[in-house]
């Protein structure tokens, strides 16, 4: 029997009647058919659900990274871990480290394609509103910070270059902090106190969650590290000039009884590269440049573009793992179907003999059993798709996780389930058809 003759023998009318017959035969053993299809149901459902969860997680991570700006290179000052200089620093009582204005000048002067540089200086202190206070990260920065870091102003405005030049006492609070300090009233236009000075609130900026800890563990530094993840970070943004004037270069902190002094010029510098293709090269150049001034790695570099690529690679690995799980579960489902179909063929040997005696050709028998397996796996596939669409919805609803079902996922999963039926149905069907009619009729 050749394949072309097999295909030619299938007319739509015959196919329809064979399908009807298949449904009837499967219906005779409802429970068995259901259990057999179960393997496919769970295979398909888990594939779709896992893809949706994976896609959702990776989408969230990518959104967060994209918000950092894919053309940006973010430099952050950190205490050097290199112990070679530790003794010297201890003696001076002032820990001096981190990025400097000289670094910015050099970056702008020597790295080609640098369009904007955003310096940032941070300290942590209590901010007061009458008798309410909040332990906040105070960052001095430049007027174009929100644009560069893709942060949305919810109300009011950001400070201007004139306010920067004038060292005005204005500030922008993030929404969490505004809510904490002004639980009942509008924060805009009100004043808050930081140490001895008062600052007028001119804008409210969106609060931002720290980027998932998986991406290098350091991106929390975006809004001042040290906070537990998930806990809202209180943030107050001032003109850099104002901050420098009020607090000078040395920051003295009292922390749980001990006192430490730090001299850090800039806590954070964001460098924007004009050409997205040159970001990675520029990052290397900056690293090279900084290595001359910073012998003991007292800064770290975050390149969102690289993080994006890393995330894409992670997703790829995830997809491969997922693909293997899917393949295995469908294989198991397929073997289950094949097992049952072989039993069915044995059980229905006599029926096969009768049909052959009444004029059924081998291809009629093949078609009949193949259609039964495909019906089984197809029905399993449909139920699996429905479940696979419901599970992510349930997860999103109860666990608050973002899940994304892409159109191709259910389509692919269903197609594969039907193909599984064909692949694992062929052998039992061929076996049924190849029995001699006399032997089949004699079967008890």
């Amino acid at each position: 029997m050749t394949w072309t003759s097999f295909i030619e023998g299938i007319s739509p009318a015959r196919l329809e009647r064979t399908i009807l017959l298949g449904v009837k035969s499967l219906w005779m053993h409802k429970l068995r058919s259901m259990l057999t299809a179960m393997g496919i149901v769970f295979g398909v459902a888990s594939v779709i659900a896992m893809l949706a969860i994976g896609e959702g997680a990776s989408h969230e991570a990518q959104e967060q990274i994209k918000n950092l700006g894919s053309q940006n290179i973010i430099l952050q000052s950190i205490k050097a871990t290199n112990s070679a200089d530790a003794g010297k620093e201890e003696r001076s009582f002032i820990l001096e480290y981190g990025l400097t204005f000289r670094d910015i000048d050099q970056i702008q002067a020597t790295i080609p394609g640098v369009s904007v540089v955003v310096p940032g200086r941070k300290l942590q202190d209590f901010v007061w509103r009458i008798e309410r206070n909040v332990d906040a990260v105070i960052m001095g920065t430049v007027p174009w910070y929100p644009v560069m870091r893709n942060r949305e102003l919810l109300r009011g405005r950001f400070f201007t270059e004139i306010e920067m030049k004038d060292r005005s006492n204005v500030c922008v609070l993030n929404s969490d902090m505004a809510a904490k300090l002004f639980p009942l009233s509008e924060a805009l236009g009100q004043e808050v106190r930081l140490q001895t000075s008062y600052y007028t609130v001119i804008g409210i900026i969106e609060s931002r969650q720290a980027v998932a800890s998986g991406s290098g563990g350091g991106l929390g530094g975006d809004t001042g590290g040290g906070k537990d993840e998930g806990e809202a970070t209180m943030e107050m943004l001032l003109p850099l000039s104002t901050l420098l004037e009020r607090f000078g270069e040395v920051l003295v902190k009292f922390r749980s009884g001990s006192f430490e002094a730090e001299k850090v010029e800039l806590h954070e510098v964001t460098v924007k590269i004009e050409d997205p293709d040159k970001v990675v090269a520029a990052a290397d150049a900056i690293k090279h440049l900084l290595s001359r001034n910073h012998k003991n790695m007292d800064y770290k570099m975050v390149v969102p573009l690289e993080l994006l690529r890393q995330a894409a690679r992670t997703k790829q690995i995830f997809n491969i793992v997922l693909g293997s799980i899917a393949a295995i579960s469908l294989l198991v489902g397929g073997i289950g179907i094949m097992n049952i179909m072989l039993a069915t063929v044995t059980e229905r040997t006599r029926e096969i003999g009768i049909r052959r005696a009444l004029g059924a050709k081998q291809r009629d028998i093949v078609l009949q059993f193949l259609i039964e397996t495909v019906l089984l796996s197809g029905a399993g596939g449909v139920i699996g798709v429905v479940m696979g669409l419901l599970i992510p919805m349930v997860i999103t609803h109860f666990a608050g996780m973002l899940t994304i079902v892409q159109l191709w996922a259910p389509v692919l999963a269903f197609t594969i389930s039907v193909l599984t039926g064909v692949v694992f149905g062929i052998y039992p069907a061929m076996r049924a058809a190849s029995m001699s009619p006399v032997d089949a009729l004699r079967h008890e």
Binding site: S11, I354, A357, L358, G359, K361, D364, S436, P437, V438
Partner: protein
Amino acid sequence: MSDAIEPIIELKGVEKHYQMGSFTVKALRGISLKIFPGNYISILGPSGGGKSTMLNILGCLDQPSVGEYLLEGKDVSHLDDDDLSQVRGKRLGFIFQSYNLIQQLSVVENIEVPLYYQGVPAAESRERGIKLAEQVGLGERLDHRPTELSGGQQQRVAIARALANDPAVILADEATGNLDSKSGGDILRIFDELNEQGKTLILITHDEGMAERTSRTIRLRDGQVEFDSMFGGKQEIQPPESE
């Protein structure tokens, strides 16, 4: 019989061998016979005589090891599987001792099975199925399952099914073997009627009474024709080979 009438079936020196390990069982050892249109034949003989084996070959369910089989003048002993299926479905009707209905199908659907494999359109097939069911007295039971019928009724469904494609020959292997004498008698009356309508029937039986109703009796013993009433008595029999 005059030579002008062509035989519907002709066996020429048909043998059937079964390989049982190291030695060969010869179930049929050189059978030659002609069956003419309208013949009403009973095949008798001791158990193991080769009756079922011969009927399977006549029914194109099996092929002879040696010899030739002409059905309606055409050599069918060398056909491939598809062509054999075609011959079975179109020209032959089978009736089995154990009825052999398909359990998941209703009465009328069982009758329609041979039509289905000949590609008869659904509506036409249903119409014919109903007519045949009425013909065997089951017009009221079209939608019943085989399990809801008595043995005699099931066998009548099987007869209707055998008639579906208007075959040239009807073959029955101990069709009344599982039935009591009353329902067996009903079946035999249907056979008589069919023969009166001109159908060719070949019936295997152990029942001498049944053999008397038929117009021709063939006795098989040890894979050979021991007696054929058409030739008015005993045929030459070769002594069986020692095994």
